[in-house]
Amino acid sequence: MAGAFGLYRAYAAASIRSQLSYRASLVMTTIGIFLVTASEFVAVWALFDRFGQVRGWTLPEAALLYGMSSVSWAVCDAIGRGFDVFGDMVKTGGFDRLLLRPRSTVLQLLGQDFTLRRFGRLAQGLLVLGYAAVAGTIDWTVGRAVLLAGAIACGVCAFLGLLVLQATSAFWTIDKLEVWNAFTYGGLTMSRYPLPLYRPWFRAVFIFVIPLACVTYFPGVVILGRAEPLGAPAIAGWLAPLAGPAFLALGLQVWRIGIRHYRSTGS
């Protein structure tokens, strides 16, 4: 009857009904987010329009990475909002209430707030992705389409992993550490552009530490049918996205340590 998925659906439905009780505000913020994020892409378009290509990348090629990253982040942001505002929950004691319920804390936090207004961001991501798919020279095969979908799903996991780690830090610092924003929003911006544009140490961080390049750039190169200039083996594009779920699993493990700490210090 009420398995984890069933409960998540009930939570999401409740969250959506809550938001619909402020309909005008919801519509306005959704449109607002769409316009803001759309204007971000206009800046990218202007850059390519001026120079034609950037280090051998055309606009539709760059748009593929941009779209993949935006869609992953939009989905993650819509479902993982509970983790994003988690610091306040710890401060106000709201987290105790979650511990008093006979369900996993992760499931309850995911269900906490299913944010509809993020659809503004999702719409932007999908539009950019659609543009990349038709305007470029991608030779679409079933395999490449599957890789695209898989990479986006893995991207959602990678971003969620970041949100979970960010939330976990609240067990120790109470205040959400702003430094995390450098990784979440910095990582988001980084993952929208081709990896070879960055310095080697910076690339290494986003391949091996926070694997956002693994869920956008490497599969992106395979989908585009480009030669990979950094010397990664051809199979990397197919396997690298799995770093996303692995990163999330790591985040959840640290989360468990955080809860143990919280329950023994009570702060």
Binding site: M1, L99, R101, P102, Q108, R263
Partner: protein, 334 residues
């Protein structure tokens, strides 16, 4: 076998100490001094199924630490605790499915949703089968008179209405044990009475064990057959209200209305503790002087319009007990 057993429970917190002012805050960033606070200093008690126990103490005494340990949120440093045969913090999920918790200051309902939708979410969270849910829900609606509130978003409820809904929400999964944390705080008189009446019926008719923390002594007098007093992490008193009174003082109060507002009153066995015009309140020890004897003496020497004898209010008793143990504000509640 008692339903709740607590033995020698100890919990300490590390509290960061910080010098006052901006300079202190900056220094605290670099080096912090920590002070250990014993929130629970080896407390022991046992509670039988179906008891209604008041748990009182000044702020920072360890009340909420105890409740957190009993409800499985907090892992203590040492000591034993079993609730219905389980160690709360070892089997959190199985444990919390069997208990209900209500915080007077916080709601567990969904702010923007109609009350009934919160109930349905809780049904899914606690995996209550549909027939049992329907029965529990209808009983709660009847007992707490919730029918007119079900379609109202929680944010539009008055405090009293919200508390009634919160009580129902905590009981939809029919827990055997209910923890109430200041359930009457901020309520108007009729709401207080309704909440008290409900708690009493729940305990008497259904045998639900209730542990009630409160600062409102009227709650305690109206509801509890047993009171535990905690201060400084130690249980100071555990027994009936009468026993608590006896432990602190035998004192009784005689209040007399004198005909003349400025008559001097001087009794060797009694002390004047309050005087307001002709109304004088005398404290006396009934073992040193029998009440009847004191009344005879006072009425023979003064013109008395009215008089009555009473026990000191339970607030006074409790305040004295706290004070005797360095009580009062013992620190902040962690």
């Amino acid at each position: 076998m008692p339903q709740i057993v607590v033995e020698q429970l100890v919990k300490t917190y590390q509290v960061a100490e910080r010098a006052p002012g901006l300079w202190g805050a900056l220094r605290g960033l670099v080096r912090r001094k920590h002070r250990t606070v014993r929130a629970l200093d080896g407390i022991s008690f046992a509670i039988e199924r179906g008891e209604l126990v008041g748990y009182i103490g000044p702020n920072g005494a360890g009340k909420s630490t105890t409740v957190k340990a009993l409800s499985g949120i907090l892992v203590p440093d040492s000591g034993r605790c079993e609730v219905a045969g389980r160690v709360p913090w070892q089997q959190r999920i199985a444990h919390v499915a069997q208990i209900g918790v209500v915080f007077g200051q916080r709601t567990q309902l969904w702010w923007d949703l109609p009350v009934i939708e919160s109930f349905e979410l809780l049904r899914d969270i606690y995996r209550v089968p549909p027939d049992r849910y329907a029965r529990a829900r209808d009983q709660m609606i009847g007992l707490l008179d919730l029918a007119p509130l079900l379609d109202v978003p929680v944010r539009q409820l008055s405090l009293g209405q919200r508390m009634r809904c919160d009580l129902a929400a905590a009981l939809l999964h029919e827990p055997a044990i209910l923890f109430l944390d200041e359930p009457t705080i901020g309520l108007d008189a009729p709401s207080k009475l309704a909440v008290r009446d409900f708690i009493q019926r729940l305990n008497r008719d259904r045998g639900v064990t209730v542990i009630l923390t409160t600062h409102d002594m009227d709650d305690i007098e109206a509801l509890c057959t047993r009171v535990m007093v905690i201060a400084g992490g130690k249980i100071l008193s555990d027994g009936t209200l009468a026993a608590l009174r006896g432990q602190v003082t035998r004192e009784r109060w005689l209040t007399v209305d004198l005909a003349s507002a400025d008559a001097a009153i001087d009794e060797p066995d009694a002390t004047v503790i309050r005087r307001d015009g002709g109304r004088v309140c005398l404290a006396f020890d009934p073992q040193a002087v029998a009440p009847a004897e004191l009344i005879r003496r006072v009425t023979s020497r003064h013109a008395v319009r009215d008089l009555f004898v009473e026990n000191p209010p339970i607030e006074t008793i409790v305040a004295r007990l706290y004070a005797a143990h360095g009580g009062g504000e013992a620190g902040s509640e962690p």
